[in-house]
Symmetry: C2
DNA sequence: AGCAAACCTGAGGGCAGCCTCGACTTGATA
DNA sequence: TATCAAGTCGAGGCTGCCCTCAGGTTTGCT
């Protein structure tokens, strides 16, 4: 899974053994907490869960965002993989639909992932790259499904934000009651996206810029320094 | 001797003039704050906006819920009216669709209304009645549209929660960027609800009980005594 | 004018979460 | 084994919000 040796070249000297152990404990506790409570889970309770003092958490992760970053750094691979499958699928529509379902699964299982997907946070370049990559793949998957005539022609990649946002709320509401209820909503939405059910839409899609702004607005609850 | 304003037990005696004025100021400030920031807007800032001390707010409205109740008591009439129009419409599908749009409009204009619609709060009997009334009307409107064959047969009144929930997040995200962007999502969803675009749904609708629970879960952020 | 009840005020005590900092431990290295 | 930088600890200050209450003010009434 994770390489215990320091990842970035040059910058960091190796951690002391106890420090490395503690760092792992913090990451594990944070992963659990973020998954259950979202990215705003109290840091003090994360430290306590890890059996450490709050000061230690801050030593390892000076800001909440540093911790978020470290926890989710490697969790994007599944998302990228899903997007790659979509583009590679024989059946473009099926590939696209399967991609949306996989994406929603990732978010349904992890409130933190959900938060991450629905709002723009100032994260590491590495994660930003992955997100850009995912976007490009999704764009291609949509294009293929549109060329084939299955996906309605009047939706744009920015409209995928609707899927993410609506899923985020529905998953939050139903998680404890019927963990798979969101699938019903997603399948409804898929019916809406089929070309043969298309009726004119009343307003144009969000522009890329508007989308970015919208995601930033959502994130105003969480910290965002820098 | 017998003044009609003399306090009969059970009903509250009339407010002193300054108290009535202050009460109005509080309601106005609260309406603005709830609309802009949702039901969790800080009470202290509401009092300050009204030009009053926090203690005065608490005198008039001992709990946040009392204030919420008073602010929204009469704002449900528009919602009820929209539902009634739906049932009375000549064209059942058009009536139903128009109802959803009106409902979303109400929520898009007021974050507080949005919160109220998407989570179950312990409010006054009067409001509860109105909500029940709305539900019954919505059920009828759906039934009519289904009988007519326009609304797909496999959706239930509980599925309307999906509309509310997804709208709530999308409206929140786009409010400041493109206040009408939610219309695009709603029209997509309407396409999903048309009978002629129906494909099988993977999981059954929420039961009434599950729905109630789900709305309660969402509300855990806000206070809910009793 | 004088009075009592109704009303208003805002300082203050709680609580939860954030974050810092100086005193204390501990692992690695010579 | 001695040394000390690296690491850990947690009390405590800060903020924002909640809510209360003792004391001062206003209103309506006679």
């Amino acid at each position: 899974m994770d390489d215990p040796s320091a990842a970035p070249p040059g910058t960091d000297r190796p951690l002391r053994s106890d420090a490395r152990r503690n760092r792992e404990a913090l990451l594990a506790a944070a992963a659990t907490a973020f998954a259950r409570d979202g990215l705003e889970a109290p840091l003090e309770s994360i430290a306590k869960t890890a059996g450490l003092a709050i000061g230690t958490l801050y030593r390892h992760f000076p800001t909440r965002l540093d911790l978020v970053q470290a926890v989710f750094e490697n969790k994007f691979t599944a998302w990228v993989a899903a997007a790659e499958e979509a583009v590679a699928a024989d059946d473009p529509w099926a590939g696209f639909a399967r991609y949306l379902e996989a994406m929603c699964e990732l978010q349904a299982d992890d409130r933190g992932m959900n938060d991450l997907a629905s709002m723009r946070l100032p994260l590491s370049d590495y994660i930003d790259e992955q997100i850009l990559h995912i976007r490009e793949l999704a764009r291609q998957a949509m294009q293929r499904a549109q060329d084939e005539g299955m996906l309605r022609a009047d939706v744009t990649p920015e409209d995928l934000a609707f899927v993410i946002w609506s899923h985020s709320r529905i998953a939050a509401a139903t998680r404890d009651v019927r963990p798979d209820a969101w699938r019903r909503h997603l399948y409804l939405l898929l019916d809406a996206l089929r070309a043969d059910s298309a009726h004119p839409l009343p307003v144009p899609a969000l522009s890329e810029k508007e989308l970015r702004q919208a995601m930033t607005n959502l994130g105003s609850g969480t910290a965002c320094a820098e």
